[in-house]
């Protein structure tokens, strides 16, 4: 679809309308043509629809918290429960150590970015088929749907940060000087999560069995991101280490924890993770763009 500036329509030639005609605005020309395979990301169009993106995310957040007395508590329940489970079964029973930071705090700091990632991917993957009526009845850049899915997960993340602050205070741990790196880590994680969510959203429209695999993938994903529950021991240079680097969240979770609680930030891993995240984002969005024209027909 090309958008170009056309000439101003000749309003003078209109047969006199009874109400004042619309003020001549610069004409926007849109051409609708048969679908053609790979398309680049429509950033400008998405930017023009940024308010819609906000409203879709706002809607998700509002709906989640309406009619729930505990509302906000649900956001922190998941990471809090996992923290307890890990502390009991990994630390106490399994004997895992976490260095100079108490294990519950160690686990919670890892669970926060992971939960954000996992929720964004899950929400994103189901976002398009959940918006069936929107897709078939109105036009807007379709990427807005999986992108907006990050909204409620992000709000949950912010709320859980409060819990983290409380636990940090209780353990007497002050944020390290590297705390300003944390937002960067979160931004990179968002790219990866949105990219994967977008890819799955597109796949889910065409192939409906994908939705049943996603919860399973996320469960496996958490265990495949050992930095959430395991302290990195000097295994650098081994094959296992390089394999784990392929999972961008592995490095990002470790970096997030280090930026908040102190300890060395694994810059090499972060670099690789950033590159992978950008690649996942671009690949996910491009696949989505390739198939989005068929959504209204298939959904």
């Amino acid at each position: 679809m090309r958008i170009a500036l056309g000439e101003l329509p000749d309003f003078a030639a209109l047969a006199g309308p009874t109400l004042p005609a619309t003020a001549p605005a610069p004409a926007v020309q849109t051409v609708v043509e048969p679908a053609g395979g790979w398309q680049w990301l429509n950033f400008r169009e998405l930017w023009r629809h940024r308010e819609l993106l906000f409203f879709l995310a706002w809607r998700d957040v509002k709906v989640r918290y309406k009619q729930t007395a505990l509302g906000v508590i649900w956001a922190v329940l998941q990471p809090a429960l996992f923290m307890v489970v890990f502390s009991v079964f990994f630390a106490r029973l399994g004997g895992l150590s976490s260095g100079d930071v108490p294990y519950p705090l160690f686990a919670l700091a890892g669970l926060l970015p992971w939960t954000f990632f996992a929720t964004t991917v899950a929400n994103g993957a189901n976002s398009v088929i959940g918006s069936e009526r929107l897709i078939t009845k109105i036009y807007f850049p379709r990427l807005a749907v999986p992108f907006a899915a990050a909204g409620s997960a992000f709000v949950d993340f912010l709320v859980s940060l409060v819990l983290l602050a409380i636990v940090m205070a209780a353990c007497g741990v002050a944020p390290s000087w590297n705390v300003f790196v944390a937002p960067v880590i979160v931004a990179v994680s968002t790219l990866a999560a949105v990219g994967l969510g977008t890819f799955l959203a597109a796949l889910n429209v065409g192939y409906r069995d994908v939705r049943y695999v996603i919860p399973f993938l996320i469960q496996v994903g958490m265990f495949a991101t050992p930095t959430v529950y395991l302290q990195p021991t000097g295994r650098e240079g081994t094959a296992m280490h390089w394999l784990l680097t392929l999972n961008p969240m592995n490095g990002l979770v470790a970096a997030f924890r280090a930026s908040l609680l102190g300890g060395p930030i694994p810059w090499a891993e972060v670099g690789v993770a950033a590159a992978l995240s950008v690649a996942v984002f671009l690949a996910g969005c491009m696949y989505f763009r390739k198939v989005e024209d068929s959504f209204a027909d298939v959904i």
């Binding site: 849109t30 051409v31 609708v32 048969p34 709906v63 929107l134 109105i138």
Partner: protein, 417 residues
């Protein structure tokens, strides 16, 4: 020479109907695609061509142009491709051939209440729906009071929309849509819901929008509305342009072309994927034989066949409309029989038969509008403008030359003195 606001060139839209697949299982699965891919490969290796699905052209070689400020009606029988045309022009779906050039901002109303969420309040839904339709937040702020006034929702504005009656829901939804101000407006007949007073208000609003110099494409079955609101019209038949030009001329051609009597209709396309799909409609004699002409002193039956894919709580109904101007003579529903607002249907195939008594209809030609509604007003399926049958005069004083829309035989008493 003005640049057209809308220019459609050789537009075509093709759907592929799947064969060898259970009609109820519309969605592909990865497993099927993989095994299907292997099967196709195997077939190709054995030297046979892969099976192609059946093709269904919803639109074929449609071309027309609309000048800025024109209000164009799009008419045609059910399945002619009107809604598909609107979908392509609205950019919801891509054409298979041809192209559309639009000069101006486009707003489309294919449904009222798109994006409304039942848990949000009326106020929140106004912002959400307005944003979805393409209005900026500043614009919604500016028009907010007007929208609320138009909708007459008043003090319920801050109640969750799930508590609204279906009438309030539709009024609020239309109020937002009515304040869209794009240069090009595409309207599918969203006015089939709502009470008579509200429908008049909606028509009035569409008329205002048309007179304000905006370009409007208006799909409708109501010839009255088309005649009143539009200056030119486009008649689609079977996906092709059958006529275009000044409204009155095109309407005449449409009514004349519709001279063919048509007592049976069966769904040609795979359906819209909802849980309840209407598959056939027919009119017949009380003894069950399909017929297209009925005597005024004879009853008739309307038979509606439908398929339920997943359990559905639904109302099945139809309206009997005159061909001349689409006026509804009466509407009736399955609930007439048992007083229940809807029936819960288990998955399966059903046939609902309605018995229209003798001495009810005035001689003339009629068509039906058949609907299956969810109790919230959202529709499972809607078949507009289907069938064409006639009620003919019998030659007796009692049945012929009667005025009005119905011809009942009523009880009269006569006293002397």
């Amino acid at each position: 020479m003005t640049i057209p606001a809308i220019r459609v060139e050789h537009l075509g839209k093709r759907y592929t109907l799947a064969r060898h697949r259970d009609a109820l299982a519309r969605y592909k699965t990865l497993r099927e695609s993989v095994s299907g891919g292997v099967a196709t490969l195997a077939r190709r290796l054995r030297g046979r061509t892969p099976e192609a699905g059946e093709e269904f052209w919803a639109l074929k070689d449609v071309s027309f142009a609309v000048r800025p400020g024109e209000v164009v009606g799009i008419i045609g029988r059910n399945g002619a491709g009107k809604s598909t045309l609107l979908k392509v022009v609205s950019r919801i779906t891509r054409p298979s051939t041809g192209r559309v050039v639009l000069n101006g901002r486009v707003g489309s109303l294919l449904e009222v209440g798109t994006g409304f969420h039942p848990e949000l309040t009326g106020r929140e839904n106004v912002y959400l729906n307005g944003s979805i339709l393409g209005m900026s937040r500043a614009e919604i702020d500016r028009k907010f009071d007007e929208i609320v006034a138009f909708s007459e929702v008043g003090r319920f504005l801050d109640t969750p929309v799930k508590r609204y009656s279906s009438g309030m829901y539709v009024r609020l939804a239309f109020a937002v849509a009515a304040h869209l101000e794009p240069e090009i407006l595409l309207v599918d007949e969203v006015l089939a819901v709502g009470d008579a007073a509200f429908q008049k208000k909606c028509m009035g609003r569409i008329g205002e929008i048309g007179r304000s110099g905006r370009t409007v494409l208006f799909v409708s079955h109501n010839m009255n509305a088309v005649a009143k609101l539009t200056t030119s019209a486009l008649y689609l038949d079977g996906g092709r342009v059958a006529a275009q030009g000044p409204t009155s001329v095109v309407i005449q051609q449409y009514l004349a072309a519709d001279g063919r009597l048509d007592p049976v209709w069966a769904r040609p396309d795979p359906g819209n994927g909802s849980d309840l799909t209407i598959t056939s409609v027919r009119v017949c004699n009380p003894d069950g034989r399909t017929a297209a002409r009925f005597a005024a002193d004879q009853g008739l039956c309307v038979e509606i066949g439908f398929t339920v894919r997943a359990e559905a709580h639904s109302q099945v109904s139809f309206r009997l409309n005159t061909n001349e101007d689409g006026t509804t003579v009466f509407s009736t529903a399955l609930s007439d029989q048992d007083g229940e607002r809807g029936t819960v249907f288990a998955p399966g195939r059903y046939t609902a038969r309605c018995h229209v008594p003798a001495h009810l209809l005035v001689p003339g030609s009629y068509h039906l509008l058949v609907a299956a509604n969810n109790l919230r007003g959202r529709q499972f399926d809607l078949i507009e403008q289907v069938l064409h049958f006639e009620v003919s005069e019998v030659g007796t004083l009692v049945t012929d030359h009667r005025l009005g829309y119905v011809a009942p035989l009523l009880k009269w008493d006569l006293e002397t003195g």
